[in-house]
Structure formats: C-alpha cells, structure tokens
Symmetry: C2
Subunit: 306 residues, 2 copies
C-alpha cells in the first residue's frame, strides 16, 4: 500500500528524524572512550562530524521515497544513513583550509577547527568507509540489492560524481566563467548525484525488484530535485549576502565563484528553479505519487528561505 497522504515538509522531516539519527549514531564508535580506546579523539571527532545537526535532507528523501512506495521504513534507514555519512564526509573535507577553508559549519566550529586538520582528514576518510560498511550489512534487503546500492553510491560519490564535481568546482573557481551547460554538469556531479541516490535507495528499499521504467523515472525525479536544490542554494547565497552584507547580487561572479545567479542573473535563476520543480512534480504525478511526502519535500526545497 502506497502511503500518499498529504503532509507538510516539516511533518515529513519530523516523522523520519529520530530513526535517521538513531541509525547514524548506531554505526559510530560509542561515546564512552573505553569502547574504542585506539583513538578516543577520533571517536569523538567522528561523532561530532556525523551527529552535529544538519537538515538531513538526503536521508529524509530516501525514507520518504521508501514509504511513498509502500515500503517499510526499517529497510530504508541504514541505506539513508550511508548517504548522509558520505555527505558528512564531503563537508568535513570541503571545509579544510586547502579546499574551501570554512571555519564554521552548521553554526559550530568545523571539524578541523574543533579538532585538528589531521583528524578532519581521517574523520572524512572513516565516514566514507563506514557508508559502504553500512550498505553491505543493511538489514532486510537481498544481497543483490545491497550490492547494487554499493555500486550506485560508489558511482555517485567517486571521480565520475561528487569527487569529480568538487574537483571541477576547484578548477573553475577564479577561472573564466563556465557555460550554463558545464555549470549544470558540475552540479549534477557534485550535488545532484547524491540526491539521485537518495531517491534510488528509497525505491530499492521499498521494492528491491522495482521495474526499470519506474526506477528510471524516480531517478530523473531525484536529478531534478538535486538541480532545484542547487539553484536555490546559489540564489539564497546571493540574496542572503545582499541582505546581510549589502553586497550587490551577482558579485560572487567577481570573486570567481560559478553560481546560477552569477551566470544567468537572479530572476532567471529563480525561474529555472521553479521550472525544475515543475518537472519534478510532473514526474511524481506520472508515478501516482503527487500529494505525498515527496511532493511536500520537493516544494519545500524550492520554497525554503535558508
């Protein structure tokens, strides 16, 4: 039975919050140092990086997809946690001085500030490993499905996906502006692929034998959702800066950052986000999933203000 009762994005997020946090905590070293005495500092830093708040958007999408398709939430939470570990590892490494050099993350000191750089490198490394370990052991799923998830996550996170997108972003910062096509490819790799995997994992958790056509449509929905998220992220970056710093919209371009507003202007970026959302919602409608939790999450992704 598909669960497509209407719900606000807040209600959807609240519904899955505790199971997701439980799953994230369960696979990390326990907080008592005596449980992992090889390096109590590493244990603490792993928990700091993975359990330190955050919107949990990707695992929420995975869980929402699973229950929308009539699946059991229990089957989705570990695959969902695996995606969040990869996301958390990428934030820890992206914040390093050699990368984006951010001292703050989610309102707290970044991992390399709260601990040190060496620990932050190792925390990112260990969280990535943990993602694959958790997938391999995910309860309630056939072996073939778990193996398929390992393959999907590795493809999304590796040099063709997230890591390649981040490298492209580093290469392009301060260089001549990217074309819109190239900007979209970069973001599809850097951000979009994890959103896509979140939807795919939710689908496979509910229906390990899902037919190819349905899986393909859900995959495209995940891609559209990831693209809409990224455009809105870029727009909020500019408008928040305008409010807070009095910096004119679009000045990020002068700093060499490749963003949608910098490339096509704020108005066109906003309409691009809405067009992408419409596409995503149309796909949901075709799948019989309109007015459910995925619909609410997709709308909230574009309408959010932070």
């Amino acid at each position: 039975m598909a669960d497509d009762g209407g719900a606000s994005a807040e209600a959807v997020t609240a519904r899955f919050a505790a199971p997701i946090e439980d799953a994230l905590a369960r696979h990390l070293p326990a907080p008592e140092p005596e449980r992992f005495d090889l390096s109590p500092k590493l244990a603490e830093a792993l928990r700091y990086a993975a359990l330190g708040g955050g919107k949990r958007l990707r695992p929420t999408i995975a869980c929402a997809t699973c229950v929308s398709l009539g699946g059991q939430l229990e089957a989705a939470v570990d695959p969902a946690a695996a995606i969040e570990y990869v996301h958390a590892y990428s934030l820890v490494h992206d914040d390093l001085p050699a990368m984006d050099d951010d001292d703050l993350r989610r309102g707290r000191p970044s991992c390399h500030i709260a601990f040190d750089e060496a620990t932050a490198v190792l925390v990112g490394d260990g969280l990535q490993t943990l993602a694959f370990e958790v997938l391999a052991d995910a309860p309630g799923l056939p072996e073939a499905t778990r193996l398929r998830m390992v393959r999907l996550l590795a493809d999304a996170a590796g040099w063709r996906g997230m890591v390649g997108g981040q490298a492209c972003d580093m290469d392009a910062t301060g260089a001549p502006p990217l074309s819109l096509t190239r900007l979209q490819r970069m973001h599809a790799a850097k951000t979009g692929r994890l959103f896509r995997v979140a939807v795919q994992f939710g689908a496979l958790s509910a229906l390990p034998d899902i037919d190819d056509r349905r899986f393909r449509h859900l995959t495209t929905f995940g891609e559209r959702l990831g693209l809409a998220f990224q455009i809105v992220d870029d727009v909020l970056d500019v408008t928040q800066s305008s409010d807070q710093l009095g910096k004119p919209a679009g000045s990020d371009a002068a700093l060499g950052k490749n963003t949608y507003p910098a490339l096509v202007g704020l108005d066109r970026a906003r309409s691009l986000a809405h067009d992408t959302l419409s596409e995503a919602l149309r796909i949901l409608e075709g799948l019989g999933l309109r007015h459910g939790p995925l619909d609410a999450l997709a709308r909230a992704t574009v309408e959010r203000v932070r």
Copy 2:
C-alpha cells in the same frame, strides 16, 4: 589443483605484475583528457597516485594466495586492485602537510606537491570510493562473495582498522611511549588489517565457499605477515638512518616516534620479526602451502633490505 611449485619472491612478483597494473589502470579515468573532461587535472592526479610504481605487495599477496589455493588469477586481480587503491589513498592522505608532511613518495614528488593539497585530498577520497566500486563489480565472483569482500575491506580500512590505527599513531607521536601491546594493536590496525584482507581476498577469489577453519588460518597467516612486515619496516628505518645519517639506532624514540626498535631495541625487534615469520610459515605448513609463492613472499618480506 593447488599451485605450490617453489618460486623466488621476485618470480612471484614478476608473474603478477602485469595483471595487477592492468587492473589498476582499467578502472581509472583514461589518460586522454577528452575522456573525462569534468576535471582533467583530477584524472591525471588519480593516475599519478595509483599508477606511480610501488612494490604492489598487497595485491601480489592476494594473487599469490588465490593461485596457491588453485584459483584463477582473473578472479583475484580486481579484488587485489581494490586493496591497492585503498593503500594508495592512505599514502596520499598520510603525506599531506597536516599528517606526516612528506614531499617524496616512491622517489617522486608526493601527490600534493606534484599537484596541490586540494587535489590530493580529492584523489585520496576518489581512490577509496573506487575500491568499493571495483569490488561490487568484480567479475567471476558470486554476489555474496563480493558483498563479503566489501564488508571485510570496509572493516579493515575504517575507524576500527587503518583509519583508527593512523589516528592512534598521530595521537601517540610525541607522547609518552606506547606499551608493546599497544604498539602491536596500533600496527595491527594501521598496517596489519590490509595484509590480512589481501590474504582473505585471495582465498575468497579461489574458493568462495572456503570452510571457516581454513579461512581462519589464512586470516591469521595474513596477520602474522603484516606484523612481520611492519617490524622489518621499523628496523630498516633505523638501520638505513644509521648508515645514511650516522644517527644512532633507536634515536627515533627521541623524536617521539613509536617503533619496535625504539621500544624493544634493534636486536629484539629483529628476533621478533623472525619469530613472527616462523609462526606464519608454520601456518602455511598446516595448510599444505609450504614451499609455494606465499612462503616465498613471506620470507622475502622479512629478509628484504629496503
């Protein structure tokens, strides 16, 4: 049919060298930039880090274990490459300024020197991801075996294994000396676990349904081999320093490095290496694998001079 014809370690290494290098190259972005235009620099750096020489000891052990047990080499090369990707990623990250700050690796500039730090972080991240992708797709092995390999490698490489051992090493450097028990635990995690996995992957490539008793003995052989390797590594570090720098043996202790010679002295470290080798060879004998390629590799590990 078990392959246990006697052979020198050089012959064993030479026999598997080309298949291992082929497998390592096959899963990386092709050298022509147009094949991976998202970031040609990342593509080049990945190849630089993974294909830049090295003894290939871990994948050689995996291949030697497989053929010793009568398996087909083809089944072992991709799992062997996965282990080498993890080893290569750990070297790239360990060489970073925030970690061991080494400018040279295998006689060439380290990855962060040849490229830059951001690229080195991403190269390490991408090589780790690739290891799991290659395991998930390893040809000629049942799904259950590939999933078991993902689990074994993740456990060996993650916070309980290699990453935890490296964190322990960083914590202990410059601190009061570790006890011998703790030093062995640190090295078992940091180095030993990948050796163990190399033997395990070779065994599972040859015999996906290997019985537990035999698998356990092979696992212990891998542990002993890893320990012997590490002790000899520490010994060579001291003796090479003595010859080259005129630095008295054991002075590493003054620098705060935890090594076997620093902790128990050079003579006892050497006899510890030989005792560990003897244990490893006894296990091989019990398995009917004496006088084969594993025997040759184990002896060479302890008798090597570099």
